[in-house]
């Protein structure tokens, strides 16, 4: 029964990895275009805030982006740690999930900061 539950968890992590990958495919494309355009003539705080301050659309975009990136990265690190360091099991999986959500929260906080600055 325990083993069964743990396999379900593994499948759910994989599904989360692929769903976030699909979201990131769109978000990272937008991000790359933004980066390449934004560095033209140098990055300034005024430029960045001029684009993001008070703009709900960008806030929503970056909130989803941060959530997807945080989870995607943590699940990827989990796979690497399992294969290279032998860190396997439900305890590690839950810890990585926590790390992913924490990273995402940190990113959403930053997005809020740019929106409200």
């Amino acid at each position: 029964m325990r083993a069964m539950t743990s396999v379900r968890g593994q499948v759910h992590l994989w599904v989360a990895q692929r769903v976030t990958a699909m979201l990131l495919a769109v978000a990272v494309t937008v991000h790359l275009v933004t980066i390449i355009l934004a560095v033209r003539g140098g990055l300034t705080a005024a430029d960045i805030l001029g684009r993001l301050r008070g703009h709900e659309g960008w806030l929503a975009f970056y909130a989803v982006f941060a959530l997807a990136a945080g989870l995607h990265g943590a699940i990827g690190l989990r796979n690497i740690a399992a294969e290279m360091l032998g860190w396997r099991g439900r305890g590690f999986d839950l810890a990585w999930l926590g790390i992913g959500l924490l990273t995402a929260a940190f990113g959403i906080r930053a997005a809020w900061g740019l929106y409200a600055a």
């Binding site: 930053a110 997005a111 600055a117």
Partner: protein, 130 residues
């Protein structure tokens, strides 16, 4: 055609027993690039969020950070991150296409396209920096 051409004339490459299971082939190299880029990007993500969160303290704090980052070394790091991000994006799209659309043909050509995309993004970034 996966069948190998007859062995060309030349010494057989030395092989390390017990080394990598698979001799490097394009999709294997693509996996290595995907793994290394993913690892570095995942480790960079918290730093990125930390830097952006300077804005919480106001425009001046963010501006101060950006001016601190205006050094060739940081710019080189940013260029590397752009290439890693583009490589991870393109490589990830190839894997998603394989897994979800069953695009199993011409994998080697697709690997070449992903590499080209990553380098093109790096070049564009560089051109816009100057």
């Amino acid at each position: 055609m996966r069948a190998q051409a007859p062995s060309p004339v030349g010494p057989a490459a030395p092989r390390r027993p017990g080394g990598l299971r698979a001799r490097p082939h394009p999709t294997y190299l693509a996996f290595l690039v995907h793994r290394v880029s993913g690892l570095l990007l995942a480790l960079f993500l918290p730093l990125h969020f930390w830097a952006l969160s300077r804005a919480i303290e106001g425009e001046a704090a963010l501006e101060g950070f950006l001016r601190w980052a205006d050094t060739p070394l940081v710019k080189a790091g940013e260029w590397l991150l752009v290439v890693l991000l583009a490589a991870h994006l393109a490589g990830g799209l190839r894997v998603l296409a394989l897994e979800f659309l069953g695009w199993r043909r011409r994998q080697k050509d697709m690997v070449a396209v992903t590499a080209g995309f990553a380098l093109a993004c790096g070049l564009l970034f560089l051109l816009n920096l100057l």
